[in-house]
Amino acid sequence: MLGSSSALFGYLLRLGDNALMLGHRLSEWCGHAPVLEEDLALANMGLDLIGQARSFLSYAGEVEGRGRDEDALAYLREAAGYRNILLVELPRGDFAFTMVRQLLYAGLTQRLFEALATSRDSTLAGIAAKGARELAYHVRHAAEWTIRLGDGTEESHRRTQLALDELWPYTGEMLEIDEVERTLIEQHIAVDPAHVRPGWEQALSEVIRQATLQLPNQNWMQSGGRIGRHTEHLGHILSELQYLQRTYPGAKW
């Protein structure tokens, strides 16, 4: 049985690292989006996620009680120390890939955060409640784009379906639980994603239907990020993300 504070630390790292990596991936669009309007939208959403990462990681450092702050956790861990799901570390791909990933991640996470807003841990509940409101917009934005791209031109349909096919096997990790979650679910601190899964699947299928896309008919799922087994892509993110902090430790603006 895992101690409850180390379970909470592990849980917060998972939530925080997801937000950190996806926020970074969205930030890579800055200056590269198809149009200026979308450049702003992507940067806004990226900043929402970085904000969530800061809250989760600050609190994680507090719970851990070893004096690590948000920066130490974000910038000074080795790749195997990160607990994000593989979905969020995949390269940004094309615009369809980015939008479908945002739809898949934000769709489930928004529901999870809504449920976490009644967590017995009031700090976690507060961070989740704020995050849920931000993610609600991400879901809507990504859904509108998915529908327009899927039901758009032949080329946009092809690319969006391809993105969905590539990303789908990475969604299973969002629904996994292990000892960390089980310990906290028992204490009404964490939420079992199984509770929000039916609502998520229903909402997602509706978007997919409107977008004239097909959910891939396969059940085999990728796994490993949550226990620190990452794709090669994470190392590349870290070399960029951690460069400044490692070259100039404690640098201030």
Binding site: V35, E37, H141, E144, W145
Partner: protein, 95 residues
């Protein structure tokens, strides 16, 4: 990056302190729904507004700058249209 041919939209925002929607700028969007999204991101991300309108720029009929004299000049000499001749009693205060 390809050249965009998305239609142009005019954005109007009503601020927190009430009043009417005011024109804040314009943007490109594929349709009305996306125009609202972009307007939120471009013009209301610092909590400026409580309501957004987007209107296709093509729906606006504008006056011809060449007609400026014809349309506006006559008003300049009709000072009696400006209520500036009334003595406002002190008790009324700011009007």
């Amino acid at each position: 990056m390809t050249e965009t041919s998305w239609p142009l939209w005019e954005v109007f925002i009503r601020t927190r302190n009430g009043g009417s929607h005011r024109h804040v700028g314009s943007l490109h969007a594929v349709d009305a729904t996306m125009a609202l999204h972009h307007a939120r991101d471009a013009y209301a991300r610092r909590g400026e507004g409580v309501s957004i309108w987007v209107v296709p720029s093509a729906a606006i009929t504008a006056s011809d700058p060449g007609d400026r004299d014809l349309l506006f000049e006559p008003a300049a000499s009709k000072i009696y249209r400006h209520p500036t001749f009334y003595e406002v009693p002190d008790d009324v205060g700011h009007m």
